[in-house]
């Protein structure tokens, strides 16, 4: 298991919380909470060691532009592929603050 931490520039704080995914084989859990204005932090724990550069590249691509709302993100990963990781993060941003938050989460 490896733990990684990141900080990115961001917009205004996210509207609310969201949780997407589960820590099952090839999947991950993303917890998103409103962050401090202008800054997003990401704390990753992953079951697969030695892929720090992949995490950096992926998170840089999604959060690097700094246009998404500011959030505190916790990722618990059980060997998800980069594509799955990106979808779960984007799903969390989509669902944050929505009243029916997660009603159809992970249906497929």
């Amino acid at each position: 298991m490896e733990k990684l931490n990141y900080t990115f520039a961001a917009g205004a704080p996210a509207a609310g919380r969201a949780v997407t995914g589960v820590v099952s084989s090839g999947d991950l859990e993303v917890l998103l909470e409103p962050g401090d204005n202008g800054s997003t932090t990401v704390a990753v724990q992953t079951s697969v060691d030695g892929y720090g550069h992949n995490w950096t590249a992926l998170l840089e691509r999604v959060l690097g532009p700094g246009t998404l709302p500011a959030a505190r993100i916790e990722i618990n990963d059980n060997g998800a592929t980069p594509g799955v990781v990106r979808m779960r993060i984007e799903q969390a941003f989509e669902e944050q603050g929505r009243a029916d938050n997660g009603d159809r989460e992970n249906r497929a």
């Binding site: 999947d27 724990q45 618990n76 059980n78 997660g102 009603d103």
Partner: protein
């Protein structure tokens, strides 16, 4: 409607994760999660063993109403560590059941649904997991005196180990054809007793003996439903409306033991033989 249309339109219960299952059983907008993922109740034991933890420890405690009646849904996430019961997840279920029983003693008729998707105790947490399962069992027996405790196992993990005993203690048990219910899993039996005793590669044998349809036919479960969310919900609602069963299944232990004592263990039991054993034993 063609079969393909039906398949595409079906609202699968199995494909939902634990949180989504809980929400689907409760009245829309009524669900409130207790001890949820943002409380960050990670298992302290998995992390020490270099395993990735989940923020809710694989158990969702959802409070709300079902057809207007106060209901708590305890949903086990089968995808996380095989739905295994550790110290925290187990304590969440036992604690919620204890609170529901206390509600009843104070005049609030709270009922409970447990969504079993579990291999039983989490081996990494050993005795703490076993103790938690014992607490869950005691809490089910406490609560079922007031309002039904309904167990549902949809699959695909099924319900095994100590949690299969917990399922047996429920007032009612609902299974799908995909679900399996048993004390020991097929591979455990094969490993311990040999391939002649049980061939864990024979899927027809596994589902024939421990699958949802067989368990309902033998009277060890009450309803076999399609993998369809509205049907699961309607079945649970119907069983709650029936109220407490005239007799709990666990009160018939002596009958069951007598029926099992008559089995010839020299031959591999076929599913039909098991049905005969149980239906005669129950007569």
């Amino acid at each position: 409607m063609t079969d393909i249309d039906k398949l595409l339109r079906r609202d699968s219960f199995i494909e939902r994760n634990a949180r989504s299952r809980a929400r689907a059983l409760l009245d829309p907008g009524s669900m409130r999660e207790l001890a949820g993922p943002f409380e960050r109740l990670h298992s302290p034991w998995l992390a020490r063993q270099q395993l990735v933890t989940q923020a809710d420890d694989g158990v969702v405690v959802a409070k709300g109403t079902l057809d207007g009646a106060p209901t708590v849904v305890l949903a086990i996430e089968g995808g996380f560590q095989g739905g295994s019961m550790g110290e925290i997840g187990g304590a969440k279920i036992a604690g919620a059941l204890h609170l529901a029983a206390r509600d009843n003693r104070r005049g609030i008729a709270t009922q409970a649904v447990i969504l079993f998707e579990t291999g039983g105790v989490r081996l990494q947490e050993a005795n703490l997991g076993l103790a938690a399962i014992a607490e869950i069992q005691a809490a089910i027996v406490d609560l079922r005196r007031y309002r039904p405790v309904i167990g549902v196992s949809a699959g695909t993990v099924g319900c095994y180990g100590g949690m299969s005993i917990a399922a047996g203690l429920c007032s009612y048990l609902v299974l799908t054809r995909e679900a399996r219910l048993g004390l020991n899993g097929p591979q455990v039996i094969e490993q311990e007793a040999g391939v002649n005793e049980f061939d864990a590669r024979q899927r027809a044998l596994i589902w024939g003996l421990t699958g949802g349809a067989q368990r309902v036919a033998t009277g060890l479960a009450d309803a076999c439903v399609e993998d369809d969310t509205p049907e699961v919900r309607a079945t649970v609602a119907r069983l709650f409306a029936q109220g407490l069963p005239a007799q709990n299944r666990s009160d018939r232990a002596v009958e069951y033991l007598a029926a099992l004592a008559g089995i010839d263990t020299g031959a591999q039991a076929a599913p039909e033989d098991v049905r005969t054993t149980y239906t005669q034993g129950a007569a």
